[in-house]
Symmetry: C2
Subunit: 338 residues, 2 copies
């Protein structure tokens, strides 16, 4: 790092001690106005910036928040959360360290360790697995806020999404349009979110006297292909329902494509729903009815919680569950078959 001016540098030029300079710059009451003026002018000319690492070291504070996610972009919604976290953190004078684990538990752990070493005050973790013991070990005494669906609701600090409710909303919407043959397309349950969606779906179907059909294909990492495979599987068996709900938007895009390849129209022949409400869901030619998860709110809540954890020395256990909401677009419509 190139040498940057310090309090001493300024002090030398102003003929003062670095202590006086420190006080002057922070408008301490016991420094004369004239001195303050002079010191500030010199600091400006030098382009002085306080070394927050040193300040934080002495004050035993921190001005950074850590965040670790499975991936940024593509088929995830973490970018939505990050944007909020970044904005809210900046408003509180905090910087955000972000790490992408590329869905690797090893890298996830590594990011946590590095950030803890770099003195983040809190870690906001959207873990790539449902087993967070390694993450917790890596974080030591640094408080962790688990975010997203994959974490067990028993964690001390967690901001979760009610995916069972997603199932209820999806069935309510589709059944309301007259659909009775509804299938859920999911992946192999790598984590809790899938299981929650499945049970919410089954429950809602059964409570209406409908029989739930669940098709599991592929993995979250290749959701698009999984969606195509799911449809093929249903077609092979000759069991194509009048509506499908997909565990993710990305999967729904794959499903819609497979259906169109077979000459089926959406929503004329079959209705399709997704989950997450990613950006592209509202692209006009996709226009996907989906379940919106309040990522923006979760991001804001995460920072609010992070700040209070930092200020209260990590004594604020908090669990908050966010509710998904229905986002109706063009991919679902009334049932025309029986």
């Amino acid at each position: 790092m190139p040498d940057r001016p310090t309090l001493k540098t300024i002090g030398k030029l102003a003929g003062l001690s670095h202590v006086a300079v420190s006080k002057a710059l922070r408008d301490a009451p016991d420094i004369s106005a004239a001195t303050k003026e002079r010191v500030k002018k010199i600091a400006d000319e030098l382009g002085y910036t306080p070394n927050l690492a040193a300040r934080n070291l002495y004050l035993r504070r921190t001005s950074t928040i850590g965040m670790v996610v499975p991936a940024i972009g593509d088929s995830t919604a973490y970018d939505l959360i990050f944007n909020e976290v970044s904005a809210a953190a900046a408003a509180h004078d905090f910087c955000v360290m972000l790490g992408s684990s590329h869905r690797s538990p090893q890298l996830e752990e590594r990011h946590c360790r590095m950030m803890v070493g770099n003195q983040v005050g809190v870690l906001i973790v959207a873990s790539c697995t449902s087993d967070v013991s390694r993450v917790k070990a890596a974080c030591g005494t640094t408080p962790v806020i688990f975010i997203g669906g994959k974490t067990s609701p028993e964690e001390t600090c967690s901001l979760l999404c009610d995916y069972r409710h997603s199932g209820a909303l999806a069935v309510e919407h589709l059944a309301g349009l007259g659909h009775t043959q509804i299938a859920l397309l999911t992946y192999e349950p790598e984590n809790l979110t899938i299981l929650q969606k499945e049970s919410g779906f089954s429950e809602a179907m059964e409570s209406r006297g409908l029989s739930p059909r669940i098709v599991r294909t592929g993995h979250a990492a290749s959701a698009l292909q999984a969606g195509m495979d799911g449809i093929e599987l249903l077609l092979e068996k000759g069991e194509l329902p009048t509506a499908v709900w997909c565990a993710s938007d990305y999967m729904a895009v794959g499903a819609m494509h497979a259906l169109r390849l077979r000459g089926l129209s959406i929503p004329g022949d079959i209705s399709v729903m997704g989950h997450d409400d990613l950006y592209f869901a509202r692209y006009p030619d996709i226009s996907l009815t989906t379940l919106h998860t309040p990522m923006e709110e979760m991001g804001k809540a995460a920072v609010a919680l992070a700040i209070s954890l930092i200020e209260q020395d990590g004594l604020v256990p908090a669990r908050q569950v966010f509710q998904p909401s229905l986002e109706i677009r063009g991919s679902t419509g009334p049932c025309r078959r029986r």
Copy 2:
């Protein structure tokens, strides 16, 4: 922050000075194996993590890199860059501070200042404007790597993309398919990238004896709408070409939608190209022929440059220009009209 064990904590338990502990943990040659063993065991039990802020303070080093972008997700490609930066930085034991400016020059400057205060060794900035004087002022002596297209090629450290070449490639592809009536849809030129694309396009067209048609509508922040508007404008004037190249993928999605609303098929009636090769460009129902910008490579190069800037005390001026490449998908085809 909750109290974390320090070298002194360990020393007290081991009956040693914090100095001996420090050496033992770093495997110094002048500490006995037995002592090392004992110290490491205690450190493990306590879950000790070195305070990198303190270490860096003394060693006058840093272990963080800063990155500021206009936005993450949606219609930008910065998430692609970030993923690479995160991975490459982690491999070098660096954490990345990421800030989203939400396309606001004020917030951009603020992020830079905060990160500089927090002692990042370098800043990788994809500025939201072409005027980077404020950013440079905010960074002071901390080296900055400008990335993306909006920065003037004269900056000391910059990783740019050759958007003029994009124009050449687009025209080459479309002309090769027999198209002679080709329009470029762009926005109001808020920054240099647009101007470069326009001039590359015009040049390539003229060198083939074709007359370039450029339509400017809307802004980058609402690219989808801009794409729809551009098509409407061409239709109103009855001047619909046989192919359009859009300044961004997102804009192309809007253009394709507007065309389909008019009952035109792609690429049967008209070919459409985009720019950037964002994730959704390869979604099967979008299948957009576009120009791929090597974001992954740029991310890697940015970190490599960042590390050398940190190690060489900011003495490595470097300009690198990356070439876009053609990504042919289903939205372009042979010209069927004359």
